[in-house]
Symmetry: C2
Amino acid sequence: MNKPVIQKPIKVENSPIPGSRKVYETGVRFPDIRVPFREVALHESANEPPVTIYDSSGPYTDENFTPDIEKGLPRLREQWIVDRGDVEYIEAREVKPEDNGNVSEGALAPQFPNLPKVIRATGTKSVTQYEYARAGIITAEMEYVAIRENLRRQELGRTEAAGVIRDGEDFGAEIPDYVTPEFVRSEIARGRAIIPANINHPEVEPMIIGRNFLVKINANIGNSAVTSSMEEEVEKMVWAIRWGADNVMDLSTGRNIHNIREWIIRNSPAPIGTVPIYQALEKVNGVAEDLTWEVYRDTLIEQAQQGVDYFTIHAGVRLAYVHLTAKRVTGIVSRGGSIMAKWCLAHHKENFLYTHFEEICDIMRAYDVSFSLGDGLRPGSIADANDAAQFAELETLGELTQIAWKKGCQVMIEGPGHVPMHKIKANMDKQLKTCGEAPFYTLGPLTTDIAPGYDHITSGIGAAMIGWFGTSMLCYVTPKEHLGLPNRDDVKTGVITYKISAHAADLAKGHPGAQAWDDAMSRARFEFRWQDQFNLALDPETARAFHDETLPKEAHKTAHFCSMCGPKFCSMKISQEVRDYSAALTDNERADIENGMADMSQKFRALGSEIDVPAE
Amino acid sequence: MNKPVIQKPIKVENSPIPGSRKVYETGVRFPDIRVPFREVALHESANEPPVTIYDSSGPYTDENFTPDIEKGLPRLREQWIVDRGDVEYIEAREVKPEDNGNVSEGALAPQFPNLPKVIRATGTKSVTQYEYARAGIITAEMEYVAIRENLRRQELGRTEAAGVIRDGEDFGAEIPDYVTPEFVRSEIARGRAIIPANINHPEVEPMIIGRNFLVKINANIGNSAVTSSMEEEVEKMVWAIRWGADNVMDLSTGRNIHNIREWIIRNSPAPIGTVPIYQALEKVNGVAEDLTWEVYRDTLIEQAQQGVDYFTIHAGVRLAYVHLTAKRVTGIVSRGGSIMAKWCLAHHKENFLYTHFEEICDIMRAYDVSFSLGDGLRPGSIADANDAAQFAELETLGELTQIAWKKGCQVMIEGPGHVPMHKIKANMDKQLKTCGEAPFYTLGPLTTDIAPGYDHITSGIGAAMIGWFGTSMLCYVTPKEHLGLPNRDDVKTGVITYKISAHAADLAKGHPGAQAWDDAMSRARFEFRWQDQFNLALDPETARAFHDETLPKEAHKTAHFCSMCGPKFCSMKISQEVRDYSAALTDNERADIENGMADMSQKFRALGSEIDVPAE
């Protein structure tokens, strides 16, 4: 294979998040575990401990880390995996010209220069987290995610008081006050959670997807035949995790798929998902009818050996369901679903992903690639939501989940799509029932079709709701949905929007660690700690920039007002006065007021003027 | 009074919405009624009638209209009002220097040059829509809104088939298939809906706010002491209604309040709301303790005579409730609420808005100013949602609603604020019960506190949900919330976000006219009518710009793909093939397929290649 060189150095954003410091928590069972968090120190006047925030951004935001994209990230899981004694180094499948779309020499994306040795399970062993969990084994990955989910609440000594706020409606979820490694194990063993972590992706910082954990989000990147390059996709991946993407799917469909993917995986601390049928289709020159099980199988192995953490597999698009979509307003909108539907019809045969499902399981278990059972028949419009085609496929996904578990694989289930608000809960309820509580992973759903250019919002609404109802991971939608390939700004907007949806869902579910972040922000607001407000914001840069548009001076960072209301009309200022007044009351005085007996106006007036109002 | 001149000509955006045509529907009972709609004609290949969209933008988007800001809009309701024979022209209250904050001569905003004569009810008559409705009278305003709500569904001959889609969960609302003037009257008479339309705002295009009508949105504009000018505020008003604001609140708190308001009202086809306490406070130099009933009363009359359509009145902030906020994380966050709380404590007296409530009603009924009973104790953080202070005030608002109705006034109730998703429905249910089904008008609610810079989204989620549950009007939140005064871009983003929330709510409630818009968009998507997709978008300019970023050529406007997936991977294209195939089947063939008896692959392949894929 020829070896083109990189035309320009790949530059990724690797500054720390403004106002945050990277900190690490070590493991107890596995002392070499170092779980990253983002810590926001507050102004000393707050007299509060720093706020710990879940950190998906990887080492890139660590000021002590210097990224080397051509070398890739440290392979932190390598030793854990080898120590389990059930894998072997193997001869990697050789890269073939068609893996990169038979691209001509000049157009070939460079191969990643520091390839790891490929491993797989010894013999027919299953090396999945599911299999370990079933066997009662707590892995390093399990302890890692347990620490990660707790957000250092115990360590900060807020165990009883501020640390655990249980106020929510969880619709039958079973979220514990604190996550233990044993709880993680038991959730995985029950199929209710997965840790997507291919043994060939040792760079991954383990994360867990399940209804009883924090709601996660996925960002899609990937080039298409029309636009985008390898450098852009690596940059987008780093950019997406910086703002909060827990997982990243590489949905590339153009040429150079194999090589681009290698660069992404080697540099990604987040699990990487793909839809292998996209590459398989490229290998048969885009002719769906020419797809074969052999081409697909070879693609699964190719990608499993590269380290892809989960595969979207549209095995539920059965021949008999395809005609159910004919009368739909928008037919089949899943790319993978439509490819398989076309194949089924062209051959008038059952979907080969369905007929070969057990063989697929055998590949998945040998590398611990998680299933993301694709919803190829998801609705693409409000009109088609919750129809016969969609729910027929969901039933099949439930059957396949059972088979995958029997084979020792980790499974999650993909969901819609476009669904009006009143039909969202039915999706969640049906998925839980049909798929044995396997984690649900939904795209949006979009709650209306009328706003192209704003589908991060139409879908962010549905995502928050279905997250509350029980979806474990939300696949983001960017403002470019339905219109074009998202750029860097769109990726950020999509990620921030979905972090909002996921966090709103955590709050509503009553996740015990969620509200601490909101409360820290609210106290900072009430006390006019502007710098703390910026630092605590999901997007500190935008928060500060918006504030500074009208009040740019440093002095305004301690001002007891903003330009929205100006100093005289600031309610926070006035209610601070109310609070001071109330605090200054004796118990007797308070009782007298409640009984309408006392006139405390003098006392209040005496206090009222103490609040500092800086001159304009 | 001195008369400064306008420094620069005020320029408002008055181009038609791209791809839309302004059309008017005339009245039956009142033949001079002309109800505006926005009509989107579709490509001839669609073979569909044009889509009619609710149009809040006023004459500015009519290509036959030339705005003259110094003259103001046509006074279309003037004759209707005079014809009712219950009003008289009066000597207007004289404008006083303090009305404009005693601003120095050089800094005074110019007076509006074409002031209308002021009218009020003759004697002690009530001239409210509520009073007419109670008396069994159908007004021109009532027929106007009836026509407006129906979106020309009858006229287009889609009465039975496509025109009425009843699929939703309305939580006990009683939305009719078609809105008749009599239905409007009966809803207003029951207090379940209001038409905010001051008799001194004859420029207003009547609109209705109520649970059994389309969900409306309000945009806030207004200068503050720190920033913004009169010209900017008029431009913002026109800009806000252009993108879909049904109502506009002028929340100015700086100087020149009186003059700025006059310019806004005279040029606004949308109802204008204010919070009179803001101006009253300016008149006493910002010292809350110095507020008096007399100053406030005079301000109500001043604004009622200018034509303000609804007043936010914080009469529910009772002395006994104030101390309930002392332990809150964010105290009192309503500006009006905090002013009244401060007044109550400083004087240790009951809120004068509460003690003088019947006198306030007498002013409101004489001009038909609607009440917007303010939620001065709404929560300002997730931590404070649904607390004792909030719900105590809501009970009082329920009492006041009954008094206002007895006095013949129109009433709506303001609601929160910051509320996590699981606590939203309790707000709606409690409001309906406590306030006799008077329309609910909520700010957001924001579903999390962690995202300053994105609070249009944190709140758009809550707004969609509470709209679904029964809120009649949603007060927008812009990206600048908590950070500064919104600019033009922020206003647009806030309005579009809230149109999404409102429409998503209409869909989920099963509003019979709502889904037609989504379906038209979805069909355009499926058939690759890009131009139709742009034209049907809530924001046609952004939709087109996003598409053109990667595929700018005119030829791409008919391409059967976009840059997101490229031509080979376009699922819409493939599923069109599936549909063509299915349509080409005979009944026997279809039955054979369902029974697994037929191999139709030849037939499918023959059709599969017919779809046109333009070269890249």
